[in-house]
């Protein structure tokens, strides 16, 4: 059921004037004056080209932009009846806009989207990021279609990536979420995704924990998996974004790995007795990698790993890691930079120890996540050194081997998970 208390009177009026809709694309904004017009245009084009007979709406949820974002959206709304080129929709593309707070929060924005979707009784929704500059009219269609026409509850994107892009997802988020939840969704942590009205209703009726508010899309995917709903992935193409700085690696790990560990904890009944993995239906080409020159050797990462490990091993890591894991880390931290290698077997054990420590709150959960950062830097250094000259195919093979290592060691995770201390 929609939580109407989340909706302002103005938003309720706008939703009531729309009535019902089949499709909804939401754009959470915060100071996106530079790109918002292009994003809205792209979605409208997508509706015009792909959903001519369907009732469609665009919902902008703003987190309190202080730039011209709201004014630009208002000016676009004034032109909504302008004559368009080519194929035109038989129905009006409704534009709804609202502000949910004075500071940006993806979770709060999504709660408003859930409520609006429920009130409009939409069949499929998509969320797109206005920071994506490569947003194409096909994107919204590719995210909406599987949920609208084929009964998929969650639609993850697939991007074409350069070799050294998305390494946290490649080395941690994808293999671990795949091994734990048993579903091979490549991009569970993305800024664009699609979902069915039913999943919106299911997620809208649940409280959203603080741990998942920054990256609610992965929580939605896990919800779909654990509720037995069908998931899929759609190829979107290469993704470029506005160079806005974005969160640093510490914040990114807090948001994404924190989200993953929280989902492991919250949905443990689903995965503790489950083995193996299932692939999901993929629309369009599979995950694509484009060749790229190797980045400069990140010696700084190695130094941050070694110094961080030495400083934290007694004060923090001792409370998180198993004795054997800590001993092996000590050995590799003592290696010379030119011979340094972070074995994938050890990396998997480290992550499983961290997940178990998070589960039993060995120390503050936020501190557990922060303590992972130096170890991730060590693994990143090792990975980049190994793959400086690798072809995309070799990198993919390596990722698959890592995924299998995560699956092979899942009993270790379960053992650590169930241990009392």
């Amino acid at each position: 059921m929609a939580d109407e208390s989340l909706l302002s009177e103005d938003l309720l009026r706008q939703l009531m004037s729309v009535g019902e809709a089949d499709l909804l694309v939401a754009i959470p904004t915060y100071n996106n004056a530079g790109t918002i017009a292009q994003a809205i245009q792209s979605i409208e084009d997508s509706y015009q080209q792909n959903f001519v007979r369907d009732r469609v709406a665009i919902l902008n949820v703003d987190g309190g932009s202080s730039d011209q974002t709201q004014q630009i959206i208002a000016s676009l709304n004034g032109k909504k009846d302008s004559i368009r080129r080519g194929i035109t929709s038989l129905r009006t593309v409704h534009r709804i806009t609202t502000q949910y707070g004075r500071s940006p929060s993806q979770g709060s924005a999504l709660k408003v989207v859930f409520s609006a979707a429920d009130l409009l009784r939409v069949k499929a929704c998509a969320v797109v990021s206005p920071a994506t500059t490569s947003l194409d009219p096909a994107w919204a269609a590719n995210l909406l279609r599987p949920a609208y026409r084929q009964d998929f509850a969650f639609v993850a994107p697939l991007y074409s990536r350069s070799k050294f892009q998305g390494l946290l997802a490649r080395n941690l988020l994808y293999p671990m979420s795949r091994a734990v939840f048993g579903v091979r969704i490549r991009e569970m942590y993305a800024d664009e995704w699609g979902f069915s009205g039913r999943l919106a209703s299911e997620c809208g009726s649940q409280p959203m924990d603080e741990a998942v508010r920054a990256r609610p899309e992965a929580w939605m995917a896990v919800n779909a998996i654990c509720n037995g709903m069908k998931c899929s992935q759609s190829y979107l193409g290469p993704r470029t974004t506005v160079p806005s700085g974005g969160p640093d690696i510490v914040e990114t790990i807090r948001q994404t790995v924190g989200n993953l560990f929280y989902c492991c904890d919250a949905f443990q009944d689903h995965w503790l007795d489950r083995n193996g993995t299932e692939s999901v239906q993929t629309f369009g080409s599979d995950h694509e990698l484009t060749p790229e020159d190797a980045p400069p050797r990140p010696d700084k990462s190695f130094e941050l790993f070694r110094n961080g490990f030495q400083t934290l091993q007694d004060a923090v890591l001792k409370s998180i890691l198993a004795k054997d894991t800590l001993a092996q880390l000590k050995q590799i931290a003592a290696m010379d930079i030119d011979k340094f290698d972070f074995p994938s077997e050890l990396w998997v054990r480290v992550l499983y120890d961290f997940a178990a420590a998070y589960h039993r709150t060995a120390i503050s959960r936020d501190h557990i996540l922060q303590a992972l950062v130096p170890l991730y830097r060590g693994q990143l250094f090792s990975f980049l050194a190994d793959h400086a000259q690798s072809t995309p195919e070799e990198m993919e093979a390596d990722t698959e081997a890592l995924c299998l290592e995560f699956e092979r060691q899942k009993p270790y995770l379960i053992e650590r998970w169930k241990a009392k201390s």
Partner: protein, 233 residues
């Protein structure tokens, strides 16, 4: 003259012998009481531990979130904390009884005063416990923050925070007990002031370059193309 000295010495010797003769049995009694106290305290500790384990207090404490607080302070489980408290309270009680057997003038009164101070002692212990929890939590937060930003003196920063909070907690606890209130406050002001002044001088004179670099780094626009932090998602 000589006789008077010998007589005086004899008198002193007799008095001392008499005092020792009177005191020694009391001392032995006190030692017996304290020894018994140790045994009883151990027995109580193990009994308390068993009962608390049977009642599954740790699980309740986990559910209530109290275990998290204890872990944050690097303290053992709730069962262990309570059974150890039972041990020390029992032992303290026996020690007080033992001391009262010694019948030393003024000591009885001090013990009675100590008992009257019991509520303040509990509050002071609570303050120290909270101080310990906060000091451990914040010092670890500073340690992790410094390590992840690549600062060289992460341990120093962390220990500085821990030290400041400990000093503050001890001062507040002593203030609660009204122990040399003025002196403690003055000592705290001096120690804290000296520490901050030391830091200010060290940073201002010794680390001008470091300060300049730090401010430049903090105020400059964030770089996103560090080789260390390739686009992670």
């Amino acid at each position: 003259m000589k006789d008077a000295i010998v007589q005086g010495l004899q008198q002193a010797y007799q008095n001392m012998s008499q005092m020792i003769a009177q005191f020694l049995p009391r001392l032995v009694v006190m030692l017996v009481i304290v020894l018994t106290g140790v045994l009883v305290a151990y027995a109580f500790k193990y009994a308390a531990r068993m009962i608390l384990r049977l009642t599954k207090l740790d699980r309740l404490s986990e559910e209530a979130g109290a275990s998290k607080v204890l872990r944050m302070a690097a303290l053992p489980s709730m069962t262990e904390v309570l059974s150890r408290s039972v041990f020390w309270i029992t032992l303290l009680g026996f020690i007080l009884i033992g001391i009262s057997v010694l019948n030393i003038a003024g000591l009885q009164e001090q013990i009675a005063r100590l008992l009257r101070l019991l509520p303040e002692i509990v509050v002071a212990m609570l303050i120290l416990f909270l101080g310990l929890v906060i000091a451990n939590f914040l010092s670890r937060a500073v340690l992790l923050g410094s390590v992840n930003r690549g600062y060289g003196s992460a341990m120093l920063f962390s220990w500085s925070v821990r030290f400041i909070i400990w000093i503050l907690a001890i001062t507040m606890a002593l203030d609660e007990l009204s122990v040399a209130r003025q002196t403690v406050l003055a000592a705290f002001s001096i120690v804290f002031g000296a520490f901050m002044l030391g830091l200010a001088i060290a940073f201002g004179f010794g680390g001008q370059d470091l300060a300049r670099k730090f401010l430049e780094r903090s105020l400059a626009e964030k770089k996103t193309d560090d080789s260390d932090e390739l686009q992670p998602l």
